[in-house]
């Protein structure tokens, strides 16, 4: 349930309609129910339309990059710890209502994910496009100027990017795995 809620918020962040995912239950003996669920879900996706085109014009490449960075960010230590901690807290409180889960994800998991995704995306941009101004990075990644500034600061402290004039350069990128 936590993963499902996190998934919805994260998909919204990367620009994909969260209605494209579904989490449903059908027991082994409930074939008719399964058929009904699948039929309803497929018609729902059909009415939303193809990925990318339905989200907006020329969004396919942008969403592709967001998803690539998002997938990397989803396996980042920070995000995983946040998910684990939230699961532990909820188990402790014993309150599994959707409101509590949603609030927990918004407060704890989502910020970690967004920061991680933007970091990944800044690195992808710098290694694929080359030197960029921070305003360009903000536009490409969909992050605010302040957020990007903070991320660039952290990265430059780790000696992964450097600034020359108003351009940012990536250091030793393209051949490293996260």
């Amino acid at each position: 349930m936590i993963i499902a809620e996190a998934c919805r918020q994260v998909l919204k962040d990367v620009g994909v309609n969260p209605e494209r995912t579904a989490l449903e239950w059908a027991s082994a003996a409930e074939a008719p129910r399964f058929v009904e669920l699948i039929t309803r879900y497929v018609s729902a996706v059909k009415s939303i339309g193809p990925l990318g085109k339905a989200e907006g014009e020329n969004k396919e490449a942008v969403i592709g990059m967001h998803l690539k960075a998002g997938a990397k960010a989803a396996s980042a230590l920070k995000v995983r710890t946040a998910l684990g901690k939230l699961a532990k807290d909820i188990k402790k409180s014993g309150d599994y209502s959707p409101g509590i889960i949603s609030e927990g994800v918004t407060k704890k998991v989502f910020p970690a994910f967004r920061e991680e995704r933007l970091t990944q995306e800044v690195q992808i941009c710098l290694s694929e496009i080359g030197p960029c101004k921070s305003a360009d990075l903000s536009e490409k990644t969909g992050g605010g100027i302040k957020e990007i500034g903070k991320i660039l600061e952290t990265l430059s402290r780790k000696k992964m990017v450097k600034k020359q004039g108003s351009n940012w350069y990536g250091i030793g990128m393209g051949n490293q795995e996260s």
Partner: protein, 68 residues
């Protein structure tokens, strides 16, 4: 392309013990259902990770259905 001839690529993550068996039973009893779902069997729905879903969309899936 009209909505009528759009055939979505849907990825299904089915639990081995529940939804997968239900899908099997649906096949055996010859129920008709849309053929758009490509199934990946997992041993438990709890195995599914945020990354699986994001990568599925990254690979061009139009939807991800998780069946527990």
């Amino acid at each position: 392309m009209t909505a009528g001839d759009f055939n979505p690529h849907i990825l299904g993550f089915f639990c081995h013990w529940c939804c997968y068996a239900a899908a099997d039973a649906a096949g055996v009893s010859r129920y008709q259902y849309p053929p758009n779902v490509r199934v990946i069997r997992v041993m438990c729905t709890g195995r599914i990770d945020l990354r699986f879903i994001l990568e599925a969309f990254g690979c061009g899936a139009d939807g991800v259905f998780t069946g527990g």
